[in-house]
């Protein structure tokens, strides 16, 4: 065949091929949809008689479902096909384009499992997580019997995000920084989009990333906010100008250390915006500004909003500040988020906080919420007249490090309640007073602690030690009278019922309680208070010990059915729970700890001294319970009346207000 003829034949062959592709569905399908589709089409075509089946073979039976797509699969594929951006898919996944495989077929067969996108704005989740997306625009499908959920987002958002990322993502840097990605031979951009972002991996030195709640807090104009896979993400592109790089390089001739990190790496070193405190310091400026719109007159720092004596003391101080005429008070919760605090307002002892502005510092500040430096700078800016720190570690560290400056404009108070017992525990009352004494009033709720503080650090020049007994809520006289009547009318039965009210933890003497319950198997012990963990971990899963839960409002609880209240704590300051129980006309058997004797005498309570072991102490407690059980009605009434009177003498709301006024105004 001559050359001209060959050329014509070749042209004809090409035209015939093109014609075949155009007119013959099978050929077109083979090219476009891959073998799987071809099989499906063939079986469909055979069933319609378009393609002769093998001689003698019948058309496929309708009930042969196992290898055929069902209605669910068809619905899913149709939906996906309608959303599929073929051009984008082939541009994004060069391996697919190189293979010649039909993109939709590829995705259905492999790409979906690999987490590849069909379009920038379509998010697909399969497996167990698919069933969790039941709302918010997600659609649930079935593909090959398994759930798949699809969310179609605003195409503009996703496209803008991917365009922005693609322009700045550094593939080479990513592979060098993450050798596991290089070893897996995964496309670095794909990896970052589908795994790296969630894992906190960096996209390269030309892009700074923020995810989660910080992504929505655009702190400077340079940040661009997007939504990717339903989640907010903020990016900032950075590029060091060539003129700057050149000047830096030039200076290396004066000091080679300028290029210690590597001359080639110079453009890719980390970059920060000087006013972007979130990136630089982990400080969310906008979070702080919005949480604290005005200057407070007083700041009270506590670690958590939870039920406890220290928290109640702080809450009562808020009342005292308000009573002293201060109008703007901020309660800074330094170690707990709003979510962690839950519905704290349901706890009556925390009610005064609701009259202040409560700021959950980790939420407002961001990652650096633990930094005393950040806190000190904030207070320097706010300039409150009073700063009270109650058990807040970062607050105490702030006073230690920055108290000299802070005390120039604010009266600082650090509350210390106890010294621990025999080297057990590490309360702040042991660790901090020496360091805060030069700048802050050491505030305590009991004379025993005050004496110890004065003895140890009284010689340190500073604002000194001040005792402000805690406030006890005074029960109305008529209610107390009713409780007296109920106590008087009570007929004791054979077995006794004792109330144990406290936070349920070892330092509250749970070992003693356990031993006591064992000593008195016929008595019932009812536990009230917050419990972390389980009773059996504390050895309290004993037949005659019953956990009754947390009492939200102790003042309105009814203890008339109890023979007495037991308090076994190993160490205390001035326990609020005892003051509250004194209002219930219930005899009290108290461990002789902390400042209790500063309020009560032997006429009002039965004191029990701690012995060398919990078991021996339990024996003493048992003897005390026998003594209470042996009292006449008149003796019981006299005891509970005395207890209430002694509490109100020292801890009434009026006494507390007077004491607080003296504290706030004291020189």
């Amino acid at each position: 065949m001559g050359m001209v003829a060959k050329k014509i034949a070749l042209q004809l062959a090409r035209r015939l091929k093109a014609h075949l592709v155009k007119v013959h569905p099978l050929v077109r399908l083979t090219r476009q949809h891959g073998k799987e589709e071809l099989r499906e089409h063939s079986s469909s075509a055979k069933s319609k008689g378009l393609i002769p089946s093998k001689a003698g073979s019948a058309a496929p039976k309708a009930n042969q479902q196992s290898s055929r797509p069902n209605a669910d699969d068809h619905e899913f594929r149709s939906f996906i096909s309608a959303q599929f951006n073929v051009d984008w898919y082939l541009r994004t996944y060069s391996d697919v384009e190189a293979s010649g495989i039909d993109p939709i077929a590829h995705w259905l067969k492999a790409g979906m499992a690999e987490g590849r996108l069909i379009a920038p704005n379509v998010i697909v989740r399969s497996g167990a997580i698919a069933n969790e997306q039941a709302d918010g625009g997600w659609r649930i499908f079935k593909w090959r019997g398994k759930s798949v959920s699809v969310l179609v987002t605003d195409p503009t958002d996703a496209e803008e995000f991917l365009t922005f990322v693609s322009a700045h993502f550094d593939r080479g840097w990513y592979l060098k920084a993450y050798p596991d990605v290089e070893a897996a031979k995964v496309d670095p951009l794909f990896h970052w989009l589908f795994y790296g972002i969630q894992e906190g991996r960096l996209p390269g030195p030309d892009l700074v990333v923020r995810t989660g709640s910080y992504a929505t807090r655009r702190t400077t104009q340079a940040w661009k906010c997007f939504t990717w896979r339903g989640e907010p993400i903020a990016l900032k592109a950075v590029r060091i100008p060539d003129a700057v790089l050149q000047q830096v390089r030039t200076q290396a001739r004066h000091d080679p250390a300028v290029l210690a990190a590597g001359a080639q790496a110079l453009p890719k070193l980390p970059h920060f915006g000087a006013d972007d405190l979130l990136s630089r310091d982990g400080v969310d400026l906008l979070g702080i500004f919005s949480a604290l719109p005005e200057r407070p007159e007083a700041v009270v720092m506590i670690p958590r909003l939870t039920i406890g004596g220290a928290e109640q003391y702080a809450a009562d101080m808020v009342e005292a500040f308000l009573g002293a005429g201060l109008k703007s008070i901020v309660v800074l919760v330094t170690e707990q988020t709003a979510e962690g605090a839950g519905d704290w307002t349901r706890h009556a002892i925390l009610a005064p906080f609701a009259r202040a502005r409560v700021v959950f510092w980790p939420d407002a500040c961001g990652p650096s919420y633990y930094s005393p430096t950040v806190l000190a700078r904030l207070l320097n800016a706010l300039r409150p007249a009073h700063v009270l720190v109650v058990n807040s570690r970062v607050g105490l560290d702030m006073v230690v490090s920055f108290g000299r400056g802070l005390s120039q404009f604010a009266r600082l108070y650090c509350a210390y309640f106890s010294l621990g017992v025999d080297g057990l525990g590490a309360p702040y009352g042991v660790r901090y007073p020496r360091k805060t004494a030069p700048f802050a009033i050491s505030l305590t709720d009991n004379d025993v602690m005050a004496d110890a503080l004065r003895r140890r650090y009284g010689a340190v020049p500073g604002p000194g030690v001040h005792v402000l007994p805690p406030r006890a809520k005074k029960l109305a006289d008529d209610v107390f009278s009713e409780r007296i009547s109920a106590r008087r009318a009570r007929v004791a039965s054979g077995s006794r019922h004792w109330a144990w009210v406290s936070r349920i933890e070892e330092f509250k003497g749970t070992e003693i309680l356990k031993a006591l319950a064992c000593l008195r198997p016929d008595d019932e012990f009812h536990l009230f208070g917050p419990l972390e963990g389980k009773l059996d971990a504390l050895g309290l899963d004993i037949d005659n010990i019953t956990y009754r839960g947390v009492i939200d409002d102790l003042s309105s609880a009814d203890f008339s059915a109890h023979d007495g209240f037991i308090f076994t704590s190993l160490f205390e300051g001035m326990p609020n729970v005892v003051l509250e129980m004194s209002q219930h006309a219930v005899p009290m058997v108290l461990a002789d700890v902390g400042g209790l004797r500063g309020t009560f005498d032997e006429a009002a309570t039965v004191f029990v001294k701690h012995c060398a072991t919990p078991e021996k102490t339990a024996v003493e407690f048992s003897a005390a319970l026998d003594r209470v059980a042996g009292l006449t009605n008149a003796e019981l009434i006299a005891m509970v009346t005395a207890a209430r009177r002694q509490v109100l003498a020292r801890h009434s709301p009026e006494a507390h207000l007077l004491g607080a006024s003296n504290l706030l105004g004291a020189e």
Partner: protein, 262 residues
């Protein structure tokens, strides 16, 4: 100099020792570039309680300086005030005795400060700060990707006139370096305050920035300029300030109650 210099550039030394040598070389280059551009530059050094080594090295390598003054303040702010007082230039630039600077700094800062569109009164900052750590020799990269633990980094400074700028940011951290370029008249109007360790206040440059911002003085950026700051292994001055528990002095009067950060 017979007529007023355009710029007095003053480097402040304390106990920099050998670090003073690259600083002086870099400063000379800075000055030479500016002079080559036609600017009259007065170059001075202030030695504040300098040690013998630093004094010796300044004498050995600083003979080209127009003046060397010794003071005993032990205070960066007061040293700068002394430098401003002794300076003759229309504009002042300050440098730290252990850093280096992009050679275009003076030239471009003067150009920016005297351009027709420049504010009548302003403080000028370099576009970038490049912090370099000598320890990065042990975290060195021979390729284009830095070692993941490299401690050298860039800080891009921002103008107080830029969109979205919140001056309240200054309440929580300093956002500009100390070595500014500004008119001598502005320095006379806004002298630095001394550190008062007995009262727990200091950080003279941070306090100065707050004071000038709250006095409505714009802080501007000179594009394509860079200061090259040595990260000392023993900690920066900022870290030292924190360890001493120093707080910045708020602008006076303290802003009123509403929106404390504005």
């Amino acid at each position: 100099m017979s007529s007023q210099p355009n710029v007095t550039v003053t480097v402040i030394f304390h106990k920099e020792g050998p670090f003073a040598l690259p600083a002086l070389d870099s400063m000379k280059e800075l000055v030479d570039v500016a002079r080559a551009d036609g600017l009259a530059i007065e170059a001075r050094a202030v030695l504040d309680r300098a040690d013998d080594l630093t004094r010796h090295l300044v004498a050995a390598r600083g003979s080209w300086l127009d003046a060397v003054e010794e003071v005993t303040y032990g205070d960066l702010g007061l040293s700068r005030n002394a430098g401003a007082q002794a300076a003759s230039g229309e504009f002042l630039a300050f440098l730290d005795g252990d850093d280096l600077w992009g050679s275009d700094w003076l030239r471009l800062a003067y150009k920016a400060a005297t351009s027709p569109s420049a504010p009548a009164e302003a403080v000028w900052h370099p576009d970038y700060l490049f912090y370099f750590s000598e320890g990065d020799f042990d975290r060195h990269s021979i390729g284009t990707a830095p070692h993941p633990d490299a401690r050298s980094f860039y800080m891009q400074q921002v103008s107080s006139m830029s969109d979205g700028f919140e001056r309240g940011t200054l309440m929580l951290n300093n956002i500009w370096s100390a070595n500014v370029f500004a008119a001598r008249a502005l320095h006379m109007k806004h002298p630095y305050e001394a550190v008062d360790r007995t009262k727990g206040f200091g950080i003279e440059d941070w306090s100065w920035h707050m004071g000038t911002v709250w006095s409505e003085v714009p802080h501007m950026i000179v594009p394509d300029t860079v200061h090259i700051i040595r990260v000392k292994e023993g900690g920066s001055l900022g870290q030292q300030n924190t360890s001493e528990g120093l707080l910045p002095t708020l602008p006076r009067p303290v802003p009123p109650t509403e929106t404390w950060w504005r």
